[in-house]
């Protein structure tokens, strides 16, 4: 079962674990909405070190409003940034 549904509010974990990870710093700590569920993929944090990448991780496209990311953002207030984030980097807003 996927942890999140489309439309759920999520916050990106703030972390800088040793080694390889695919969650850029600029998006960490920001709050967005699950835009789509991309499927389950091998975990790049394991693949990078010669492991088989299992267990698979669900990957989500998460949508953020640009104005929530950059205080001085100029443009349409509906402008968005969409980014692909693995499940273990996301916390439900309600989970705190």
């Amino acid at each position: 079962m996927d942890r999140f549904n489309i439309g759920d509010s999520v916050a990106v974990r703030i972390d800088s674990p040793r080694g390889h990870y695919r969650t850029p710093i600029y998006i960490q700590g920001k709050t967005g909405i699950i835009e789509s569920i991309c499927g389950r993929f091998k975990n790049p944090e394991r693949l990078a070190y010669g492991y088989d990448g299992y267990p698979l991780k669900t990957l989500y496209t998460v949508e953020f409003l640009q104005k929530d990311l950059w205080p001085d953002y100029k443009g349409n207030i509906a402008d968005k940034l969409l980014i692909d984030i693995y499940e273990h980097w996301l916390n439900s807003i309600n989970e705190g």
Partner: protein, 211 residues
């Protein structure tokens, strides 16, 4: 980082050939190790290189043109790109990352980046352009997408919603740009000729019909 290696140090190099760059030497060394350790053969490496070089933006352009002409193909392409491509006889290589196609419209404009490295729909567009891999593009297009697109010559009205797609993981994105006006009656080939690489990344529009 590599500049120092490329500088010709005057007399020292006067008799030798041009030295390969730092990255070229490093790639050669890694390749030699992979072969030596039996991870892959030289033939396998060459066939990968050939496969990558056989793809170019012309492949993507044909698909965009078909999507402009055939609504039901476009719908399938947006829903499940690899299936839609397979139906028209275009088999993506195995082990290829998942391809997602998005469409620009009069209301929404997509532009693609990989802030972490240089993820790119190579299976359709070939190798990414150098600017796509540059730190300047990768860092600026997420913060100021409208300004960056304007530098590419694309000025978007404030009414249009801009969506920056940061392909950080297992998805690769290709954009179907807006079909240029005045192209009614164009066939797939003449439409494809208007579809530029940059328009499929989203930093510019396709060529106009009367350029």
């Amino acid at each position: 980082m590599s500049n120092e290696q490329q500088v010709n140090h005057g007399d020292h190099d006067s008799e030798s050939e041009i030295q390969p760059s730092y990255y070229a030497s490093r790639a050669k060394a890694i390749e030699a190790l992979l072969v030596q350790k039996g991870v892959m053969t030289t033939n396998e490496i060459n066939s990968e290189v050939n496969a990558m070089d056989s793809k170019s933006p012309a492949d993507g352009a044909k698909i965009v043109a078909l999507a402009w002409l055939d609504d039901s193909f476009k719908t399938k392409l947006l829903a499940n790109a690899s299936e839609a491509l397979e139906e028209i006889g275009y088999k993506l290589p195995d082990e290829t990352p998942y391809l997602k196609v998005v469409e620009n419209s009069e209301d929404i404009h997509h532009v693609v980046v990989c802030t972490l490295c240089s993820c790119y729909p190579r299976m359709l567009l070939g190798r990414p352009p150098d600017w796509y891999k540059s730190l300047a593009y990768r860092s600026r297009v997420v913060v100021s997408p409208r300004e960056v697109m304007e530098e590419f010559g694309l000025r978007l009205s404030d009414d249009i919603e801009v969506r920056v797609l940061d392909s950080t993981a297992d998805l690769r994105y290709m954009v179907i740009p807006r079909r240029p006006l005045g192209t009614d009656g164009f066939d797939q080939e003449s439409l494809a000729a208007l579809v530029t690489r940059d328009s499929m990344i989203g930093v510019s529009d396709p060529l106009s019909a009367h350029f």
